[in-house]
């Protein structure tokens, strides 16, 4: 398969501060590639280097086989970018901003602008300064996609979007992907990456922890489980593969589970439950668990 993005031993330091360290990964043509890590992990630094906004301290990055820094304007013709924080010219109307954005691509993007605005329910006559964060994010989505890019780079794209709009956005992304666009999707929310991506790179403290297929990651999925049960005898879940940190306090049981969720559910059906909570733990705790598992293997 063609490599659309190829990052080799990329490091970036801001003075003495760490940005990213010795990062290497590649994104294949047509895939939706997740890029996940906690805040400050180096996701935005990597993306900004790919977009030539910042220069790497060492290492290289190529998009479409071209050097990201040397051939940035050529690359940008085929790239759509949605930054994590959206800032535009406050006094401008949405329509004017989108048309200005379109003017860089040398083709008629108006039908696509209208289509995307309609889809996202975005009023083009409003001034940017009057828009809510969610609507500004919609402007960002439209300006990133209006020229039908071959590569879409998204940095925390769902921040500020309500759940319905998030779903619409994911649908649009999937459609673009089906049309042939490659997507690099950066997020700190594991569930949304799992929802849409086929592979994911996990980054922490500037270093690449792992690159996983989503199916493999789901197998490693860590869940925080708590339930209340009836009866005097504490349920015996210690034997269940993937259970850790099991605590029982009166009739309230808490545990961390990593493994096949069907096996967990099957075990829980044998217990007379009063209440059940299964939640996705914070990314940091997932990493802690992931690390401890890795260390155990070593």
């Amino acid at each position: 398969m063609d490599k659309i993005i190829e990052v080799k031993h990329l490091s970036k330091y801001y003075g003495k501060s760490r940005g990213v360290i010795d990062l290497s990964f590649s994104v294949e043509k047509g895939e939706i590639f997740g890029f996940i890590g906690p805040n400050g992990a180096g996701k935005s630094t990597t993306i900004r280097t790919l977009l030539a906004l910042i220069r790497p301290t060492s290492g290289t990055a190529t998009i479409f086989g071209k050097d990201c820094i040397e051939q940035a304007p050529n690359i940008a013709e085929k790239v759509g970018y949605l930054p994590g924080e959206v800032y535009y010219y406050d006094k401008m109307r949405v329509r004017d901003l989108l048309h200005y954005s379109a003017s860089f691509y040398g083709k008629n993007c108006v039908p696509n602008i209208d289509r995307l605005c309609k889809r996202l329910d975005l009023d083009q006559d409003k001034r940017i300064e009057t828009l809510s964060l969610g609507n500004k994010k919609k402007v960002g989505i439209v300006q990133g996609l209006l020229h039908e890019p071959e590569l879409i780079i998204l940095d925390e794209p769902t921040t500020g979007l309500d759940p319905l709009m998030q779903q619409t956005f994911f649908d649009i992304l999937k459609e673009e992907n089906e049309k042939g666009a490659t997507v690099l999707f950066s997020s700190h929310i594991l569930s949304e990456v799992q929802k849409i991506c086929s592979r994911v790179a996990i980054i922490r403290e500037g270093r690449l922890v792992s690159i996983e297929d989503i199916s493999a990651l789901k197998q490693k999925q860590v869940l925080g489980v708590s339930f209340e049960y009836e009866g005097d005898e504490a349920p015996d879940l210690v034997e269940l593969k993937g259970v850790s940190e099991l605590t029982v306090d009166h009739n309230l049981c808490r545990l961390v589970f990593q493994g096949d969720v069907n096996e967990l559910v099957e075990s829980l059906t044998k217990i007379n439950l009063v209440s059940l909570h299964i939640e996705e733990p914070s990314l940091e705790s997932i990493f802690m668990h992931y690390y401890s598992t890795q260390k155990d293997h070593v």
Binding site: S44, I54, R55, A76, Y100
Partner: protein
């Protein structure tokens, strides 16, 4: 071209507003001349009584006030701070907005090199300053025509236009450099005011000092209207020096933009 027209349109209203202010103010001075021309001899006597250092600070030759453009040049030398502020502000605003408004990740990820961004923004600034100069000088010419004083003023006005435009471009380049040296300046007006006042203060020393070398330190002294009126042309040394300064200021700015990290901070 899109960057040029975008920046031009974005700053057009401010430029028109300022050009109008300048035109009205200049017209006011010229109309003022009509009312005081009968009493100019008395005014000259009044000026003659001023101490020598103070007369030096007022400009080269107080006697030029006997002509309408002379009076204009004399009074303009005191308000030249205002166009300087406007030109520095323009440079800061055109070049600094991606950093102060945090639009750098929007604009610098478009298919246009940073070099193109820079050049187009400089051109948009030039276009605005040329427009302002043409409007300002045209209004001066028109008022002189109605006053019946336009007979020998055409070439002087052309030199005035050159002097005004060149000085504005120097200050515009200064604003440009500040925008790239201190990415993220938000209070354009206070920075413009401070920088212009600094050079204006040096200018006061330059005209009252014993050496001509001080003139090279402040753009206010490069192309003064009263010098143009007395000499009939621009000082060639200062002309080439101002071109050199413009080139250096834009050169450093260009290098800074093309080599710096430009993400939203």
């Amino acid at each position: 071209m899109n960057i040029l027209s975008f920046e031009f349109k974005r700053h057009l209203k401010m430029t028109i507003f300022f050009a109008l202010f300048l035109a009205i103010f200049s017209s006011g001075i010229l109309f003022f001349y009509i009312y005081i021309k009968e009493d100019l001899d008395m005014m000259m006597e009044f000026f003659d009584r001023f101490p020598a250092p103070m007369k030096a600070m007022m400009g080269s030759e107080v006697s030029i006030v006997t002509k309408p453009l002379g009076l204009f040049s004399f009074i303009y030398s005191f308000i030249s701070l205002i166009p300087a502020i406007q030109a520095i502000y323009l440079g800061l605003s055109i070049h600094g907005s991606p950093f102060s408004e945090k639009t750098s990740e929007f604009i610098f990820t478009k298919p246009a090199s940073r070099a193109r961004h820079f050049v187009m923004k400089v051109f948009s600034g030039f276009a605005l300053l040329i427009l302002e100069t043409v409007f300002f000088i045209a209004v001066l010419a028109l008022v002189l025509f109605f006053m019946g004083e336009s007979d020998d003023s055409a070439s002087t006005l052309l030199w005035f236009a050159d002097a005004f435009l060149l000085t504005q471009v120097v200050f515009f380049a200064l604003g440009t450099l500040l925008a790239y040296l201190f990415m993220g300046i938000k209070s354009y007006l206070s920075v413009s005011l401070g920088v212009a006042a600094f050079f204006f203060a040096i200018s006061a020393f330059a005209v009252s000092g014993n050496t001509d070398k001080l003139k090279f330190l402040t753009p206010f002294q490069y192309h003064r209207f009263d010098s143009v009126l007395l000499n009939g042309y621009l000082d060639s040394d200062l002309f080439f020096f101002s071109l050199l300064i413009i080139t250096v200021l834009f050169g450093i700015s260009y290098f800074r933009l093309t080599s710096a990290d430009v993400y939203n901070r």
